[in-house]
Each structure stands twice: as C-alpha cells, then as structure tokens.
Amino acid sequence: MSFVYEKIMGGKKGLTGFIILATLILIIFPLFLDAFRLNLVGKYLTYAFVAVSLVLLWGYGGILSLGQGIFFGLGGYAMAMFLKLEASSPENTTIQSTPGIPDFMDWNQLTELPWFWEPFTSFTFTILAVLIVPAAFAYIIGSAMFKRRVGGVYFAIITQVIAVILTVLIVGQQGVTGGINGITDLRTLHGWDITSDSAKNIFYFINCGLLLTVILASRFILTSKFGRILLAIRDKEDRVRFSGYDVANFKIFIFCFAAMISAIGGAMFTLQVGFMSPSFVGIVPSIEMVIFAAVGGRMSLIGAVYGTLLINYGKSAFSESFPEMWLFLIGGLFIAVVMLFPNGLAGLWNDYGHHITNKFVFISKAFSKLVPQSLLKKVEDAR
C-alpha cells in the first residue's frame, strides 16, 4: 500500500490534489454542466494530455518542445482516418465518381484508397497506431537530436520546424490527408453514433479516466529513480553524464512517453469533436499548449490540467461575451498569471494549499469515525 500511496499518489498532498481533481471532473462537472458545456470541458481535457506531457518534458526534463501539436495531431489523424473510412462506406458515398473512398479523395481525383490508409479499417490497428506511430516518430526525432547533444533552444526551434513541415505536408497533400479542411464529418464508431449526447457522455468519462491514469503513470515515473535522474539531467546534464549515465536515452524515453500521451489526447479529441484538422499540428497550438502548462505550473501534473481548463474556459467565455476584443482579455490573463503567480496555479496551491489539505485530512478523519468499524475492518482484510 505504501508503494501505491507514496509512488503513484505522491503522498498526502499529491493524493489530496488528485482526489480533488477527480471529484471535479468525474462528479461535479457532469452534475452541474449541461451536455454542451460538458462536451466542451471534454474537449479541453484532451488538451490537458498535452499539458501533462509538457510538465514531464519541460518541467522535469528541461526539454522544451514547441512541437507537441505534432503528436496530438498524429494521434488525432490516426483516429480520424479510421472513422473516416467507416463513414465512407460505398453505400454512404454513392454520389461520388469512386464510391467507397473518403469524399475529399474523390474531389482530388483519386480513384483508389492509398496504401497507408488500408490498415486503418481495423480498429485494433488504429489504437496501436495512435500509440506507436507518434512514439516511433518521437524516437526518430529524439535519437537524431539527443544523441548529438542538441538541446535547449535549438531543440525547441527544431521541434517548431518539424511542426511547420508536417502542417505544410498535410495541407499540400490534400488528396490523401484532406488538406486544410482536415478530415471532417465523422459520425459513427462501429455503427455507434458518436455525435449523440449519450456517446459524448461516455467519451467524456473515458477521457477523464485516461487522463487520470496518465497522471498516475506520470507521477510513478517522476517519483521513481528515473524521475530523479531526469531532474538531475535538467539541473546539471554534464554531471549526470560524467557519472556514467547515458543521458540521451533518458531524454529519448521521456520524449517518446510524452509523445504517446499527447497522441492519446489527440485521438480522444477526434472522437469527441468529430473532426481533425491541420490547425492542431502547427506552431500556434503547440505553443498554446506550452502556455497551458505554464499557467498551470510547469512542475505540477495536476496543475497542468487546471491551467488547460482555466485558459480554455477563459477563451470560450471571453469570446462569447466580448467577440471583438476577447484576445486582449486572454492576453491579460496570461500576463496576470505569469506576473502574479510565476509558478502557475500549482504555485498558489503549494503556498496556500496546505490549509485546505489539513482541513481535508480533518474531514476524512471525522468521516472515518462515522463509518462502522466492521466495514473498515473488511476493507483492511481485503488489503
């Protein structure tokens, strides 16, 4: 038990934060938000995967990736390709010159499905592709960079460039990628209508479950020996190298892991929003996601989720109330958070959170007195 408590939950403070977050997204939001707003929160939470990955990479690894959109996009596109193929059955596409291929291919005079689309008819393959393609791509980038000791600002710039290249590639090859429109009009998953409210609710909870799992897995990595070496690399890379560690491998691993997390977010995005477009792959979304992490606190996995929620809620709320000047307000929010709380929302929690934590412990102790002792004993036995 203590292993789970210390390593995965992160001790008392970590556990409290985790439980508060889980209560918020699993109970409070579904209870108090209508279907539309809940779906919006679901969309925001897919970005939170990327923000969490940036906490690992940037906060703990000191590797600033300005191209996490690449992996979000790869995951999203893999899922979109599967859904698009299902939506383009010959019966649904009878008006096309070539029925049975996605509509944008038909508009671009393609007459058969490109080879790399073929395997995406399989859902299992798609899930594997969501996880493995981005990780493999990250491995290639990571090996090329970290083995050559490219780091810091150079690495940031190169990830940006790759994001641009990928965007240009997707937009340019519109016959096979859907171009600037992206892959749209995704409606069913194995015949199940994913645009219905019930489907959206289910995806919301799956999304939350995955996000919480990802946070726990990340916490496990960070509290392990690997996590401490990662911190050491961030603070004094040379000293770690001189101690005999292969620094590059550690960096490659965390980069691949972060890519995989981001890709899960992308796939969940496609499922909940119903399309994928190159506007998630480029520089702007990638930097935006760094901002989410910064606002949440770049050393806090849970803070990153709050940062994402806050900024995106601000975006939606400001742009609904002040459609002509909302960008200024969002800019003001960034500046305010960075100036007032340099450690992000998590910094606030660290400064004032213990008051709440103490209260929480008090309440839980009081609560435990109310629970019959026999029940507690059963729980103990079960352990």
């Binding site: 779906n39 010159s97 944008f104 009009d185 929003v273 119903g274 477009s277 003001g332 100036m339």
Partner: protein, 418 residues
C-alpha cells in the same frame, strides 16, 4: 496589480453600454409595430422565439487571418437585419443577434455553432466563410437541425438540407467567365494558378474540363501554391515561358497582394496579358491596390459599381452604417441576401420551425427582386439562380462591369465535370 484590470473593465463596459444605447432608439421606435401570432404557433421546436423577438446567430471570424475577409460579410448581415427590424421585423418580431467569433479556426467554428444551436437555440445562423469552416460546422447543423446561410462563392459538390448557399457554386462562376474570355479575347491557351486547397483545385478541375472539352482550348500550365504563400517568382517565370493567352487565377487571401505586385514587377500587366481571376473582389483590392490590378478582370456575380436602384440604395445604406470608406465585395452582397431570403421563407411558412422554413425554401420559387446584384431566385437545390458578371479593374479599386451573363441555374453536382 489591481489598477490595470480595473481600468480595463470599465472601458469594456462603456463600449458595450454605448453600443446598447445606439440600438435603443431603434428598439423603442419599433416595439410599437407588429401584432404577433403567439410564439407557440410559429415555433413548435423550442427555438429562441418570444412574442416580441426572434434570436439569430452570426458566426464569422472577427479575429485571425480571415477577419479581413469576413468583416464585410458580417457587416452586411447586420445591415440587412437592422433594415428588416426597421420595417417591422419577421412575423411581427424583432430580430436579436447573438454574435460569435469563429477566430479563423475551424474547431472554434464547430464549437460556436454548437453553442448557438444547442444553448442559444437560434432560429438561423448567418456565417462561415471558408470551405474549411463550413465543413467543420456542417455535421453540427445536420445533427442539431439548424439552418445556416452561407455567403461565399465555393466549390459546390455539396447540398445539405440545413444550409442555404447564397454565393455562387463553381459552375456559375467559372463557365461563364471562360466562355466570355474565349469569345471576347479569342483565348486558346490558359495558365491555371491557384492556392492549394479544395476550392481552387475543384474550380480548376472544372475549368480544365471546360477548356479542353467545350472550348477546344489548351491548358499550358497548372500550379498551386500553399495558402499564405508570397513567392510567385517561379510561376511567373513559367508563365513568361509559356506565353498563355489567359492567366486564370484563384489565388486567395493575403497571397493576392504578393501575386499581383510580383506580376507587375515582372512586367506582366494588362497591356500585354489577359488575366481573369475568380478570387478577387473589392475587399481584396483594398489590400492589393488598384494600380497593381488595373485592366485585369474578375468574374463575380456582384460588383459595387453595378448601376441599378437596388444597388445604389444598398451601397448608400452600407456606407451610412459602416462608414464612407467601406467597400462591398461579392461575398458581402451575398451575405446581405441571407437574412432577406430567410425572412421570405419564414413569412411564407408562417413559422420559424427549421423544417417548415427549409420546405418553403425548397419549393424553388422564393425570389428577391430587391437584391443589390439585381434579381435572384432560390433553387430547389438550396443555391441561388444568379448572373455572372465580368468586371474590369481600374486604379481606384472599383470594377467596370463589361459583361453580364444570362441568369444561370445553380448546379452543385455538374455532370461531365467530375
């Protein structure tokens, strides 16, 4: 730290308040007009309709790269709505507007359209501009059974129950222009150049078929440049080499500025070269500069300089509402038609219910004799019958209409051009 925020907020409030004040006299004047049928009868599906008001949404980009193009459209929609309100509204109800910003970002368009339909229950939405934004919102409108009036000339290949297309689809714009240039300029060889996305590619596909199969001409080059591209040197060199009779262009947005300036710098001007574009309206000319375009041709369905009473009234009203310097392009005019077409359909249906409004629209006989472009009629297939016009640009950024076609039937799925 409190200071900046406290000085920011009141200014926001002041602005909103000032806007509200401006609208107030109109509201007071008009609230007396109109005896309305009760809301339950004209609205059986729970839309945002009361006994006095009906709420609609406007969804265009107010920020981001598309803002410059979409501003005209949303201004025209607001003008039409204020005019409708001034003459008694629709079914005795004043139209209230909820405006959302699509922010030049397709997922945002989808999010905002869902908000307008699900949360605000608007009776109609006027908006979207690029094909990408339309594609992003389309599933939302079909799922939530909303009604979208889409103003932009576009590639066709689409006909949704939930969309009324007030711009021209590809064949309405392209075929007439090619016929004109083949006849008038005796053009035989064509060079096609466009931005690299769905609309130019589809437009060029149709153009190529028409040139090769109908006109008996030849396409000597076809090039696509990424959106936002500003380097046209290599294309211009190829054009010099091939010496086409006509350059047929569908370069969009900001790229146009570089494209026309570089053409001029390379000495390719209207004195020696015929150029016909399907993507330049008065709005773009503002950025390009009339002097860089002088003597080149655009094919559109509307030009601001059109000489008819409808258009004179429209231009005057538009300038009064949005300033002397504003210009009205093709899409601006098409956007202006949206609220009027909606009004006509709603009044015939005697209801705001989407299904009834769509059913009336699909009868194919809703006409607008007051359209600035002259006369339009809504076809069964949700597109408009309209005329194509060729305009020759002059230095002052306005075009002279040199050719007007017959009324062209919209055909979003043209046989033989697929």
């Amino acid at each position: 730290m409190r200071k900046p925020s406290s000085s920011l907020l009141p200014s926001v409030m002041r602005r909103c308040f000032a806007k509200g004040l401006m609208a107030l006299p109109a509201a007071i004047l008009l609230s007396s007009i109109g005896m309305s049928a009760s809301a339950a009868n004209v609205n059986t599906t729970g839309l945002a309709v009361t006994d006095e008001t009906v709420t609609i949404g406007i969804l265009h980009s107010l920020t981001g790269t598309m803002a410059i193009s979409e501003t005209g459209a949303q201004e025209a929609e607001k003008l039409a709505i204020s005019q409708i309100n001034a003459t008694g509204g629709i079914l005795g109800r004043q139209i209230k507007i909820i405006q959302e910003d699509g922010a030049s970002d397709w997922p945002t368009f989808a999010e905002k359209s869902r908000k307008l339909l699900v949360q605000d229950k608007v009776a109609a939405v006027f908006g979207a501009w690029t094909s990408a934004s339309r594609k992003a919102v389309l599933p939302v409108f079909e799922k939530e059974n909303g009604l979208l009036y889409y103003p932009t000339f576009y590639e066709g290949l689409e006909q949704s129950k939930n969309v009324i297309y007030t711009g021209q689809e590809a064949t309405q714009q392209i075929l007439a222009g090619l016929d004109w240039v083949a006849k008038e300029k005796e053009a035989k060889t064509f060079y096609l150049i466009g931005s690299d996305y769905i609309w130019p590619r589809t437009a060029m596909k149709i153009a190529r078929k028409h040139i090769e199969n109908v006109l008996g001409g030849k396409v000597v080059g076809e090039d696509y440049k990424p959106l936002g591209n500003t380097q046209f040197g290599s294309v211009i060199n190829k054009i010099r080499l091939k010496k086409p009779d006509v350059i047929y262009a569908a370069v969009v947005g900001g790229s146009n500025v570089a494209w026309f300036k570089q053409l001029k710098a390379a000495g390719i001007t209207s004195k020696k070269q015929t150029l016909l574009t399907i993507s330049v309206t008065e709005d773009e000319v503002l950025g390009i500069g009339g002097e860089n375009l002088e003597g080149f041709y655009s094919i559109m369905k509307y030009f601001q300089s059109q000489d008819n009473p409808n258009n004179k009234a429209f231009v005057a009203a538009f300038k009064e509402m949005w300033g002397e310097d504003s210009v009205m392009g093709d899409v601006t005019q098409a956007a202006y038609l949206g609220p009027w077409l909606w009004k006509a359909a709603v009044e015939r249906a005697g209801s705001f219910d989407i299904d009834k409004v769509v059913a009336e629209s699909e009868k194919g006989d809703i006409e607008l004799t007051t359209a600035p472009e002259g006369y339009v009629k809504l076809h069964k297939n949700h597109h408009l019958w309209s005329k194509a016009r060729v305009g020759e640009w002059s230095k002052d950024g306005q075009a002279t209409v040199v050719y007007t076609s017959e009324l062209i039937e919209p055909n979003p799925f043209p046989a033989g051009y697929q």
